[in-house]
Amino acid sequence: MPCYDPGVKRSVAVSLVLLAVIAVAVWPQGMATANRRPQSRRPLPPGKVAPAIDYRDVAREAGLTAVNISASPRRASYITEVTGNGVALVDVDGDGLLDVLLLSAGEMAARKPRPQTLYRNRGGLRFEDITATSGIPPLEWAQGVCAGDFDNDGRTDLVITQWGPNVLLRNQGGKFADESSRLPAATTKRWSTGCAFVDYDRDGDLDLFVAHYANLDLAATARPTDKNHCTWKNMAVVCGPRGLPGESMSLYRNDAGRFVDVTAAVGIATPPRYYGFTVLVGDFDDDGWPDVYVACDSTASLLFRNQRNGTFEETGVTSGAALNEDGREQAGMGATAGDYNGDGRLDIFKTNFTDDTPTLYRNIGTFGFQDVTSTAGLAINTRLLGWGAAFIDIDQDGWRDIFYANGHVYPEVDAAAIGEVFRQPRTLFWNRGDGQFHDLSAAAGEAVLARHGSRGLAVGDLDNDGTPEIVIVNMYEPPSLVKNFAPRGKSILIEPLLANGRHAVGARLRLTAGGRTQVDEVRSGGFHISQGDFRVHFGLGAADSAQLSIRWPDGTESNLGAVAANQWVSVQQGKGVTRSRPF
């Protein structure tokens, strides 16, 4: 989100304007014209050939046709209308196929609850709308979604965050019951965005981390049509987030199925000055205890280090993952974790506002991160406004690539003739395997070139063919279901399950194939206000098998030995491989 400040009106802030001008003069930043792809100056090294990628959007054929609603597609009045919604890819009915939940907001004036669309996966990338029988109630202003089996019954439950009361949906076997009364009552009045289930205290049940965006008081917030409106590039726009009261994040401990707010007690409480978006859980120091990163808009991002005693310490600035290389706050939207350089550590990629680059934080160990955006070749595009992002091995060569969706926040930009556009193409950076990325966006298929006002994004293998698809929420449009039709390497899908049958959220997988070791984790949430596949996908290149080991959330480890390529492997703690399904 942008960094204008409604409190700094031009008519009264000459000195600030001067200082701002000076700041801009000192640090000339990139600027945005989203109509043209930037030129890459870095050619591929000799002998390195980029893969053929053919991403096509098959949402319509698949039956994913629900149109996203978020107030008016022409003009927004409040910032809640432009932050967008998430998507969840979850096997709701236990049939082995990921179903799709698409969130939607509503109409600002009416604030009428709207259905949240649940599609059942019928197989073969065909979906049917089962919203009416899903048990998911219509909601006034849904934002994000995360999944986890909070009651350890083997069924995946959901939390939907809202601008308003969050909703806990207990899975009763393909149908949900609204059990929001299990959540702390204090959540009802806040604006929540990203969320993730996390067993932070390793007591065997899933706790819940929720990001909050801003303390928005409609009565006190100017609309673009008001006299004291906010401006961006001389255009009247919605106010915020700068100038709006910020927020802090929340952690709710699972006490026998009821969630208790332990935010202050465990060290999550911060001054309320952040605009939290994506919650990203990962064991960033590889100590067996989950840490939590929060991508924050227009403020420093947050990194909560698990102290292994039931408490956290916020270390964002100290660790180097809160700001960019120059110590500047960015407008963080989406975030994703993955080991892009094969050193066994989880790195962080974050999308930001236009006039800025995305940020890649390399995990340098000892809980330190280094902004390597430029070094990695990702600083070439400042013209897109990024949202949902994913580390995804598109060609299955064993190196995680980066895909992210874009879209401007203001629908009005199209009419303003300021060189900005609302609907923007996607971005795909191919991992060269040498610490650098190559922009493949222009040659990766129509689904990457297609322009949408995208927001939430989630990755999952919807047709169980061993290659994950990408589902993207598009503002005021149906979603995109992006599938790669190009040839690719071998792969494997690992599904770690606890002894009680629930997905082993927090398990860390270590896989060695073709002389390389890859790591990843089972993650709740993990995408921008969205939930992806609990199964972990690894590209294997030409390797026929891989050595697999898993560190379970309780800290114990299993060495599974060799597993063959091109299959979906379920591994249960204490039992080993319980099921293998070839692609």
Partner: protein, 270 residues
């Protein structure tokens, strides 16, 4: 005054003094004094008095465009300068000012058009080449941006020894391209040209940090911090540097200083 404010003031003062016409001499002299004191609203009022007498006074119009921009009235600045350039297509100063306003309003394509027109008419206009580099970079035309900066650097090699911007701008661009050795050399040249610029020392220190030449980087960053004690950025890099060197006490001290300075810094306008 920091070097940047001096630069801005000098730019505007030079504009006012150089263009002063008899009918407007008093008003523009007054505007100059007000610019010097950073009273931009008063300077604008003076300029408008001049224009009341001579509505088509080119220099006054350019000055007014710059002042409107400095006062945050970007649309008015753009409209005024666009009218001027339309009426006087060979008005280099008008095109330059318009290009700058476009650039700072994130409109790199029309900014490029203005700067390209200037360098076509006046190939030795090193400032226009330099700004063309910035605008092309913003437009994603990286190889052409580098060419423009290189041209600016060639033009200032001997004739304008005081001009350090082209070197610094190219250094910054090359760091985005991960060409840190060349960036460092350029930043050093910029610092030699303008040893009072904290930015030049910062860029050199940043390039050295990327190259993991820690002790050298520390010296350049320290000097940057000394030159502009209000700038938080060098302290952030120093904190990261000390962390890498496992000097936690110094890292903590720099981080605290960084946070203090950052809290005092004004919000940046985008």
């Amino acid at each position: 005054m920091t070097w940047v404010t001096r630069w801005l003031a000098a730019l505007l003062m030079g504009t006012a003094a150089g263009w002063c016409a008899p009918m407007c001499r008093l008003q523009l002299a007054s505007a100059q004094a007000n610019i010097n004191a950073q009273r931009f609203a008063a300077a604008l009022a003076d300029t408008e008095q001049c224009l009341a007498e001579e509505p088509l006074h080119s220099a006054a119009l350019v000055l007014k465009g710059n002042l409107l921009y400095l006062l945050g009235r970007d649309v008015e600045a753009m409209t005024l300068l666009e009218d001027l350039v339309r009426r006087e297509p060979f008005n280099t100063d008008g095109r330059y000012a318009l290009g700058r306003v476009y650039y700072f309003n994130a409109r790199p394509d029309p900014a490029c058009t203005q700067f390209e027109a200037i360098v076509a008419a006046q190939p030795d206009h090193y400032r226009a080449w330099d700004n063309l580099g910035l605008a092309r970079e913003a437009a994603g035309r990286i190889p052409e941006a580098i060419q423009a900066h290189v041209r600016a650097i060639a033009l200032v090699a001997t004739a304008h020894r005081e001009y350090d911007w082209a070197h610094a701008n190219l250094a910054e661009l090359l760091m985005k391209e991960d060409d840190n050795r060349r960036a460092f050399s350029l930043a050093v040249e910029a610092a030699e040209r303008n040893p009072q610029s904290s930015r030049n020392f910062y860029l050199a220190g940043k390039a050295l940090t990327r190259l993991e030449q820690w002790s050298k980087a520390e010296r350049w960053l320290r000097r940057s911090a000394e030159l502009d004690p209000t700038d938080a950025a060098p302290h952030y890099l120093l904190a990261q540097l000390y962390r890498r060197l496992e000097r936690p006490t110094e890292a903590d001290a720099e981080r605290k200083l960084f946070l203090e300075l950052q809290a005092k810094a004004p919000d940046k306008r985008r």
